[in-house]
């Protein structure tokens, strides 16, 4: 369970958001909305522990994430605005490396399966620099297929650059995760459209 209590963030001189509170239970999804520059990415990064909050606290299973230390990072998967793919490596190599670094080693078969599910069959061996923006996003999101044991998914604009078909695929992956009792916090400018029993929305610029 993820609890956010009175979270506030300041960027430079400007207050981005203040007093944000919500609780995410297993099977729950929160859709963080807001205009450009309203602090959606900062909020997600704060939930990861990459950015320190100016006020308030993030708690995971009742303990502040600071107290969890590195073990907290074993519980989450973050897909940021940038895809985190190395252009010189193929999609397959990228996923293998990412899985190893996340301490979730995946076999080549699993990686190829994840890429196939994201519609990248036959392109697994191509260096990422030869892929289109949408295909790169698909490769980045294929990490979700390998990150199923991680309960908390933090996704920054996951649908960016994806076509309708891929969006539907990602929705299905997310629904599967929620059905297994996972949690998702995501930002998106387009309709999330994920069927979930427990869906909250949070407007940052309201």
């Amino acid at each position: 369970m993820l609890e956010i209590i009175g979270l506030g963030c300041v960027r430079g001189e400007r207050r981005l958001f203040g007093n944000v509170s919500f609780t995410l239970e297993p099977g729950g999804l929160i859709w963080i909305q807001g205009g450009n520059g309203s602090g959606k990415t900062t909020l997600l990064r704060t939930l990861c522990g990459l950015t320190q909050a100016m006020a308030g606290e993030v708690r995971w299973r009742g303990e502040p994430i600071r107290a969890w230390g590195e073990d907290y990072r074993r519980e989450l998967t973050y897909i940021g605005h940038a895809n985190g793919l190395k252009e010189e490596l193929s999609a397959r190599e990228n996923l293998l490396v990412a899985a190893r670094l996340a301490s979730q080693p995946a076999s080549r078969v699993e990686v190829d399966g994840a890429l196939q599910d994201m519609g990248l069959a036959g392109r697994e061996h191509l260096p990422v620099k030869f892929l289109s923006q949408g295909q790169r996003r698909r490769a980045a999101l294929a990490r979700l297929k390998l990150a199923q044991p991680r309960p908390l998914w933090l996704l920054d604009e996951p649908f960016n650059a994806l076509d309708a078909h891929a969006v539907a695929g990602v929705r299905k992956i997310m629904e599967g995760h929620l059905a297994r009792g996972g949690m998702i916090a995501l930002t998106s400018h387009q309709d999330v459209g994920v069927q979930a029993t427990d869906t909250q929305t949070l407007r940052l610029d309201a």
């Binding site: 590195e70 990072r73 989450l76 940038a82 985190g84 190395k86 490396v97 996340a102």
Partner: protein
């Protein structure tokens, strides 16, 4: 923990192998800078022999700095630095892996080629071994210290110039004792004192630099 270290080193070395031009640039920079001096100063063996330790070390310093920009910047730009920071390991461990890879890619080739370059300066054969040893101890230290500067300037525009201003003064002890060791051996003195200090500095750097780099990365990525 050790496994993560290995994964990061393999990843970075693999990336360097895919971009061999970058590795070659550093090496050729060292070779060319070191070779310009005999051409510019003239073929006076006594003068060259006296200047050799200093020139070779300054060239090594500059070459090592040249490759610092790539240590974290490329990973920062494509978002993989964030992912590395989210690896369930202490960040200092990730940094050690990156620094080891940096040394393997840019430091080790330099250590291996330096004795050959030193022949242009008419260094006595006995000093070549000392040069090799001094560089072997000193270049990892250059990578360790340089990582702190590189981490502080991640994502800063024009960070390349800034990193040299930050890092070069910190390289001075390495230069003094590294060049000192070679100098001592050319004049027939015992170089073990200089080498011991270099070794001690390396141990100190290995303990302190990764933590400082990790802290700098956290600040830069806030």
């Amino acid at each position: 923990m050790m496994r993560t270290l290995g994964h990061i080193v393999t990843r970075d070395v693999l990336l360097a192998m895919r971009r061999r031009a970058d590795v070659a640039t550093t090496l050729f920079f060292f070779v060319i800078v070191a070779s310009l001096f005999p051409l510019g100063v003239g073929p006076e063996p006594k003068l060259l022999r006296a200047m050799a330790p200093g020139i070779l070390w300054v060239a090594a310093l500059l070459a090592s700095m040249l490759s610092l920009g790539r240590l974290f910047d490329a990973d920062y730009a494509d978002g993989s630095l964030e992912q590395l920071m989210l690896a369930p390991e202490p960040l200092a461990m990730v940094v050690i892996g990156k620094v080891m890879a940096h040394w393997l890619i840019s430091g080790l080739p330099l250590v291996l080629i330096a004795p050959v370059i030193a022949l242009q300066f008419d260094l006595p054969t006995g000093s070549l071994g000392t040069l090799f040893l001094a560089l072997l101890l000193g270049t990892p230290l250059l990578s360790l210290i340089g990582a702190i500067g590189a981490a502080l300037t991640v994502g800063v525009r024009g960070g390349g110039v800034l990193v040299s201003l930050l890092v070069l003064p910190l390289y001075v002890p390495v230069l003094v004792f590294g060049a000192g060791a070679v100098d001592a051996s050319t004049t027939g003195m015992d170089a073990s004192g200089h080498l011991s200090i270099l070794g001690a500095l390396l141990l100190l750097g290995m303990v302190l630099a990764p933590w400082a780099t990790a802290a700098a990365l956290r600040i830069s990525l806030e």
